[in-house]
Amino acid sequence: MIPLHHVAVGVPVKIVEIDAGRDLQGQLKHMGFLKGACIKVIQNTKGPLIIAKGNLRLALGRGMSHKVFVEELQGRKVA
């Protein structure tokens, strides 16, 4: 289980835990970023990350990205 900002760009990962307050959790959930969802980090330099789930792109503040924990998916493509 690693926090999202430590994930390499382009590697498909699965969300295992979102350790955040009710609002952030809720907002991410309704946008489809649920536990078990397959996502990808598109950009991770300084400042906010850009993450992707399918066609959806989402900019996520660096602080928020510390609260999203993921694990790597081996050999699976993100749909």
Binding site: D23, G26, Q27, K29, H30, M31, G32, L34, K35, G36, I42, Q43, T45, K46, G47, I50, G54, N55, L56, R57, A79
Partner: protein
């Protein structure tokens, strides 16, 4: 319905073309109305179509009906309390899954939805085919293709919304799988006790199980509040404590099935998305982003000044000439020196120097 005004709300995700559609629908007769105490506004406009007067309300964009920000709350409140006759959901058809989420929520709430698939030109460019008839058939609502930025499909949309305003609201039932039992149970409970908060018992049951804060708060004053909470707790325990995620997952599962059924990709995801991502990569690059922004701004400003300069010069000449003529005229008519100076150095020169900024401002806006 004819005779009275049909009330239409435009809803949808941010950046899906609601306001573009709004402007196209109501044209030049648009007026803007602020909502009390917030920085976000909803816009209202009127149009007449085939003798029917229609009031259109443009709402702030929202991703779901569970509002987390003020603008989302405004959209939600209007949809639930404003009781529009028809809700036109304008969705970015190149992003079906995410956009359909709000549509499904609205349908669950028993809203009278007309679906406008906007940005169909982008969809076609991406090599995606959407089977409108199929989508319309499954959801049991009218579906219209539009390209709002070019005004395409708007007459069909107007026809569809006028027609829909005379029909009963369709209701979509998502199958909540293992928790369907709980939904039905609560639904029955609400029906039996005649609990109403402006939505159907089914919609209310779903909202309660989802833990919707606004709905739960409304139920607080009711007698049944305790019973409702108990039922919710029981259902929550059955899914290891995260009922909301469960409900959202089921909804997305339904949407995924729907999208698979109704759309076909001719290109792979990689082929489709790379262009936008490549551009993003450059524009949001850590080192290049700001220089690119600054150079774009520099080009913008130098263009403005280049184009504006001749006009500014012309205004200067005109006012210089006017000032001289005014002095000559006043002195020749025997007016005092101070009056000539007041007119030419004060009024004419003053107005002239203010007006010389006008070309720049007009060009910038």
């Amino acid at each position: 319905m004819s005779g009275s005004t049909v009330k239409i709300a435009l809803a949808g995700n941010p950046n899906s073309g609601k306001t573009t559609t709004f402007n196209q629908l109501v044209g030049a007769r648009e007026k803007i109305g602020n909502w009390h105490g917030t920085t976000v506004e909803r816009k209202e406009g009127q149009l007449k179509y085939q003798g029917q007067s229609v009031k259109v309300v443009d709402l702030p964009g929202t991703y779901s009906l569970s509002a987390y920000s003020i603008d989302e709350r405004i959209a939600r409140d209007f949809l639930i309390k404003g009781k529009p006759d028809v809700v036109v959901t304008i969705i970015d058809a190149s992003n079906l899954e995410r956009n359909l989420y709000l549509v499904i929520q609205l349908l669950e709430m028993g809203q009278n939805v007309v679906l406008a698939l906007n940005m169909m030109d982008v969809v076609r460019r991406h090599g995606i085919e959407i089977d409108i008839k199929e989508l319309s058939g499954i959801l049991n609502i009218p579906v219209v293709e539009t390209v709002a930025s070019r005004g395409q499909g708007l007459d069909t949309l107007k026809d569809a919304m006028i027609q829909a305003s005379t029909k009963d609201n369709p209701e979509v039932r998502i199958d909540y799988g293992e928790r369907e039992e709980d939904v039905k149970n609560l639904e029955e409970f609400f029906t039996r006790n005649d609990v109403r908060v402006g939505m159907s018992p089914r919609a209310l049951a779903v909202k309660v199980l989802e833990g919707d804060a606004a709905v739960l708060k409304k139920l607080e004053e009711r007698e049944c509040h305790q019973d409702v909470l108990e039922k919710r707790d029981k259902a929550e325990k059955a899914v290891d404590g995260d009922l909301e995620s469960f409900m959202i997952e089921r909804r997305y599962a339904y949407i995924n099935g729907l999208v698979k059924e109704c759309s076909h990709h001719h290109l792979t995801i990689e082929e489709r998305m790379t262009q936008s991502d490549r551009i993003d990569k450059i524009l949001t690059n850590r080192f290049l982003g700001i220089p690119i922004f600054l150079s774009l701004m520099y080009v913008l400003f130098s263009l403005v000044f280049k184009i504006g300069q001749p006009m500014v010069d012309m205004i200067g000449h005109v006012f210089g000439f006017l000032g001289e003529r005014a002095v000559g005229f006043i002195l020749s008519q025997g007016g005092p020196q101070w009056m000539a100076s007041l007119i030419s150095d004060g009024i004419v020169a003053g107005v002239g120097s203010v007006l010389s900024f006008l070309p720049y401002i007009l060009l910038l806006s």
